[in-house]
Subunit: 403 residues, 2 copies
Amino acid sequence: MSTHDLIRQLRESNSSKIVMLVADGLGGLPIEPGGKTELETAHTPNLDALAAEGTVGLSIPVAHGITPGSGPGHLGLFGYDPLVHNIGRGVLEALGIGVEVGPRDVAIRGNFCTIDGEGHVTDRRAGRIPTETCEKLVAKLQAGVKIEGVEVLVEPVREYRLVVRFRADGLGDKVCDTDPLSTGLHPIEPKGDDAASEKTARIAAEFLRQAKEILKDERPANFLMLRGFATFPKIETMEEVYGLKAVAIAVYPMYRGLARLVGMTVVEPGKTLAEQIEVAQANWDSYDFFFIHYKYTDSTGEDGDFARKVAMIEAFDAEIRKLRALDPDVLIVTGDHSTPSRMRSHSFHPVPTLLWAPATTRPDLVTTFGERPCIQGGLGQFLAKDLMPLAMAHAGRLQKFGA
Amino acid sequence: MSTHDLIRQLRESNSSKIVMLVADGLGGLPIEPGGKTELETAHTPNLDALAAEGTVGLSIPVAHGITPGSGPGHLGLFGYDPLVHNIGRGVLEALGIGVEVGPRDVAIRGNFCTIDGEGHVTDRRAGRIPTETCEKLVAKLQAGVKIEGVEVLVEPVREYRLVVRFRADGLGDKVCDTDPLSTGLHPIEPKGDDAASEKTARIAAEFLRQAKEILKDERPANFLMLRGFATFPKIETMEEVYGLKAVAIAVYPMYRGLARLVGMTVVEPGKTLAEQIEVAQANWDSYDFFFIHYKYTDSTGEDGDFARKVAMIEAFDAEIRKLRALDPDVLIVTGDHSTPSRMRSHSFHPVPTLLWAPATTRPDLVTTFGERPCIQGGLGQFLAKDLMPLAMAHAGRLQKFGA
């Protein structure tokens, strides 16, 4: 029996409130051998109090040694096995810029390129055109492309990157990338692996034919290539699995989109964590589960800025008291992955995680929140996908299994 | 390859003795925030000595966040995945009152109810009749019901609850419950999902027809309803999986029945833990594996009596020396689940577990037995079903895997 089947069988409703506060890329590394991590360096009296009263541990986002992107990282936290539920690249790119993706859609990553008179690719990134040029060209494409029976959406991402979305019935996503991966070659013709994907490939070929015409006098971006064709993943909603009415309070489009994939309601979040918590408060009676996303622990880690990541953790800590004032039954503080500023990237390291549930927490000996203390915590090391069943249990929302 | 396939491939026999001492519902919670649990509060010099010499950890009975009943809890300890091997409700109820269930049987939970002149249910529990009335009515049913080719057994449980067992060839258990779940409705006619279950449904319908006649002048229990139809689960015995001759020394019927399900021999246990250990001693040469069950850590937890649970743990501890005197090769002390007296119920919290095997234990730094120390133990946190392979290994009963 799958964990989701088990939960569907055992779940029951009550008036409990679960808050999952995700500090993106929370985990880190020391800069100096033997030094402290960003989280250990930060002064975090409020998180420390939660750690002392609750229990802590380390979340393994996907599997040992696997560095997740934001998609798998968040799916794990929402209780979906990221190795089973795959979100295609095109869909993630679309979500990242706030393009909605639904069951009739195929989302595709595009990049402008330069081709010569024979149609050979001479620059796969079109000289990294500035974003404003990208926006202008995308507007021309959006205005110019017409395909019978297909709703086409083209949106700029950044520099040479864009998103294309086809909306029609019966589209598949098993379509090859058209990028030949080196210069001097023709782009590859889109080709589908099955009937539905062949339909998508025909639409993509027509899209590229019209685009070539529309862009033919542009320089350096006189064509584009498509890759990462992806349909909306078939995934049960959190309400279907857990019986939870879930709301996402996230500032960045990617995380709003990921939350939408699992059926969360997405509300206007405000701009700061303080405002996000106010939004949670304003919606307190309407939802059972509150996903609150904080980006800046990740972005400062990606920048390699240790001190700034420390400061962002301290700013995060400062809002914890407002969250406690809402009096949730279960409060989880975790991250979707680690982003050590020393590595300037996502990493595979387990993520410090804190579970605070006054009525049911079995305390451990840990009194501060940090990577080293979490090793000693009562949650042990666990897969991220095990966190939601624990949250449900602490919320009193799971009946006994068997007699 | 499944764990059981692996063990069958690697197992070998020797003269080692494994004792699994199960303190039912052992794990607990502090009453006061930051306080000690029942086990941490209890004075347990003998368990502490085992913890110091052996190694400890925390057993997750079924999966993170899942609260097990006694059935899944014990199956896990015996090394069977409780999510794969499901024991039906009727069988568990029968085992709980000492009714044997075998391969030709269907066991069913029954409850007396009240119906009006039109046959509508007016009270689903027949006014919670006293157990003595239940016993009298069950005796009338047992004496009165005759079904050609079927051996029918009816046994009282408590108040309005009873167990019915049909014994015949080719019975299935995919039969719907007859309880309509609210008053004012007719009981549901038993209906089978396949040919074997249809046979059971026909027997059940005839049983109910005769029962209605027999009970027609009784008040308030003038009928009964059937639910939780269950056949004997197809499960390999511990001898088939591990090559172990296993004996159960358990006072309560439920645990004797669960042990029988996995093929253990069930012997007369005496009444106290001291007597159970004497029984183990008397049977020492006849078996390889000794399951000794202690109930009172669970029942005091269910009563919400923290002090009494502490006392029961101390009484348990006092008998450990007699068990050590038997000189087992492997001694495991654990529980099938936690029963925190604060929650007055089974819970999902991991269970303190101790493995003592003088010849092969790798010691950890833990010197006392309790929930917090177990977090730091050498066994880490593990699924209950992994305990038997560890026991087999420490008993020198598993060969090397691969060259």
